[in-house]
């Protein structure tokens, strides 16, 4: 593999809601082309960390550096420009319910590209086909199943061919086969487009199948207790909470 270049660097991050500190002193580096897993037990702040990384919530202290720019200290306009290079798959899909699937994917394209209507429609169809939803262009989000909504959400997240794709629990609520297909799709995206992927999940099969780097947030110590390749962590990590998590409580 090429020498890795840092894509997202997090230093001494503290997450808090008002006076309530959720996690302290989190530092890690996500390299270009990584599939980075944010893992940890329920309620430990995985989703909050994701919110800070995508620009929805500001950190209490600490810095997030994306491509050499301090994400939370640049002007909102600059931050908006960085965010435009993100694609985000939300936990519930978060498709705009008043728009059809094709329009959901078309909206970012309309805003940020010079394509004409016909071209946008073609791109939207292509993205839907990529996630196995050929022919569902004119359905509304309420007319399709939860798993399909998730896939459509992924198609929207990929609309602008983002540099970084964020996934909030991608395989939650999917059957094992669909979850496997999603994992394959994630690997394919990384290999063919060089996208950096950040995945919040606690699905162990996915973690070991796709993860190349990770951080483990420990709800008891209120900080991160391990970081690195999850397969290596399984072999080497000594922390009892990490071991227990990675072995499904067997150790």
């Amino acid at each position: 593999m090429d020498p890795k270049t840092a894509h997202i660097t997090v230093r001494n991050l503290t997450m808090a809601y008002g006076d309530f500190v959720l996690m302290e002193d989190i530092s890690f580096t996500i390299f270009r082309g990584d599939i980075f897993i944010i893992m940890g037990g329920s309620g430990c702040g995985k989703s909050t960390l994701l919110k800070i990384l995508v620009g929805l919530k500001s950190p209490a202290t600490g810095s997030v550096t994306i491509d050499d720019l301090n994400f939370w200290e640049v002007t909102p306009g600059e931050r908006g420009k960085i965010m435009r290079r993100f694609g985000i798959l939300y936990q519930s899909g978060a498709l705009w319910s008043s728009l059809t699937l094709a329009d959901n994917i078309a909206l970012p394209l309309e805003q940020y590209t010079d394509l004409n209507k016909k071209q946008i429609r073609e791109v939207a169809s292509y993205k839907l086909a990529l996630v196995g939803l050929t022919g569902f262009e004119d359905y509304y989000p309420s007319e399709i199943s939860g798993g399909m909504r998730k896939r459509a959400g992924l198609a929207r997240a990929m609309a602008l061919d983002p540099d970084i794709l964020f996934f909030d629990e991608p395989s939650a609520g999917l059957d094992p086969v669909s979850a496997k297909l999603l994992d394959d799709l994630i690997l394919e995206l990384r290999d063919s487009l060089g996208t950096t992927l950040v995945v919040v999940t606690h699905e162990l099969p996915s973690i070991f199948a796709i993860g190349t780097n990770s951080v483990f947030l420990d709800v008891e110590t209120k900080t991160m207790s391990a970081s690195g390749d999850p397969n290596a962590l399984l072999k080497e990590c000594k922390d009892p909470n990490v071991r227990s998590f990675l072995t499904r409580g067997r150790e």
Binding site: S92, A94, L95, W96, E110, Q111
Partner: protein, 388 residues
């Protein structure tokens, strides 16, 4: 889980008897299920407090016929009782006499120890603290409202200079929803208000034989006050609530987050078209409501008080000035802004649950109606001072 003869089952019974020097055995018999009365723990409590020598609590379930969660609840109560007893030594609980399933379920309840501070405390706040908290809350929500009005003004300014990003198809859809689709209800309410005004007025005026002036009364009241106010109240209940519910649900579904992370301002993308639609449609609806109200008045005047149509028309034309009409229209535009702001603000600041969406919709309607009536009163005072 249950024994053989469930047909002639006996009610649950509990007896506690010492079976050894330091052992108290609880004999459980009959049917220990939730669908029938279960014995009180007090029996056990008495037996325990009566004898301080007891060190072990054991169970005998040989005559137990059937059991479900009822038995487990009793066991947990017995455990709490045992651990709360004032003793120098702890009381051991011997589970060996219990049915296997009940034993395992009971052990499961103690598998995860109680987390420190997990239980919500119900300490009562002192009155002053409560009042202070309420004041701080009100100040906070006032600041939120001001913030929102500021952001909305900036969005409106951006629109005027042509720099706002929104979908024009959204704008037309909302205009249709809060324009054409509101016509039916505005017609109904306005005609009825006209009718009522005319009846109330005409009966009083007829005492002086001046019933023809009912036309003046209805026309001025509708144009100056009732047209704008009634459309305002209708639209607050209809459209303001819809705005709050729509935006609130979008908040719950993370749809607004999805807009933000795409670099789109919800203020321009969602709030601006709603505000524009109401600013455009409210004056039109108000004029329509004025007309319908006057028509309603005419029905009563002509039908019940022997005024000829020509007479009624002439009387109305003579009484109405442009200033009456404009005052109503200006007010309706302001009411439109109030409804849009209240609806959108409540929706955008909605919490992330179904109850929060309901609360947002209710609060949007109440806020809008209160502000509309208060503003209308303020207008009445100002126009009176100015002599308009």
């Amino acid at each position: 889980m249950n024994d053989s003869n469930t047909h002639n089952s006996t009610p649950a019974q509990l007896t506690a008897r010492k079976t050894a020097d330091d052992t108290l055995t609880v004999f459980l018999s009959g049917k220990w299920t939730l669908d029938q009365p279960l014995p009180d723990i007090i029996e056990l409590k008495k037996a325990l407090t009566a004898d301080n020598a007891v060190r072990t609590l054991s169970f005998d379930t040989q005559t137990l016929q059937e059991w479900d969660s009822g038995l487990l609840v009793f066991l947990i109560k017995a455990r709490d009782l045992a651990s709360s007893r004032n003793l120098t030594q702890n009381l051991n609980i011997d589970l060996s006499g219990l049915p296997d399933g009940a034993k395992r379920l009971f052990q499961l309840t103690t598998a995860v120890p109680k987390r420190e501070g997990a239980e919500k405390s119900d300490t009562r706040e002192p009155f002053l603290a409560k009042t202070g908290g309420a004041v701080i809350n009100i100040a906070g929500s006032f600041k939120e409202m001001l913030d929102f009005i500021g952001d909305a003004s900036i969005a409106l300014l951006k629109f005027m200079t042509g720099r706002a990003t929104y979908r024009s198809s959204d704008l037309f859809l909302i205009i249709q929803e809060c324009g054409v689709e509101a016509l039916a209800i505005v017609t109904l309410i306005s005609v009825l208000i006209g009718l009522i005004l005319a009846f109330v007025g005409a009966i009083q005026l007829a005492m002086f034989g001046a019933q023809v002036y009912v036309a003046d009364l209805v026309a001025i009241a509708m144009l100056r006050e009732m047209g704008a106010m009634m459309t305002g109240i209708i639209m607050a209940g209809r459209t303001g609530a819809a705005f709050a519910a729509q935006l609130g649900t979008m908040q719950v579904n993370e749809e607004i987050d999805a807009l933000k992370t795409l670099g789109l301002q919800p203020m321009e993308f969602l709030v601006l078209p709603r505000m524009l639609a109401l600013i455009l449609m409210m004056p039109l609806l108000c004029i329509y409501s004025d007309l319908m109200g006057v028509l309603g008045g005419a029905v009563v005047g002509i039908g019940a008080f022997d005024i000829t149509p020509v007479q009624y028309f002439e009387q109305t034309r003579g009484s109405v000035h442009l200033s009456h009409f404009l005052l109503g229209v200006v007010k309706s535009i302001i009411f439109g802004i109030v409804i849009a702001l209240a609806g959108c603000q409540r929706g955008m600041n909605c919490g992330r649950s179904a109850t929060a969406v309901g609360y947002a919709a209710t609060s949007a309607v109440v806020t809008a109606i209160v502000i509309i009536i208060a503003l209308d009163g303020l207008f009445a005072v100002i126009t009176n001072i100015l002599g308009v």
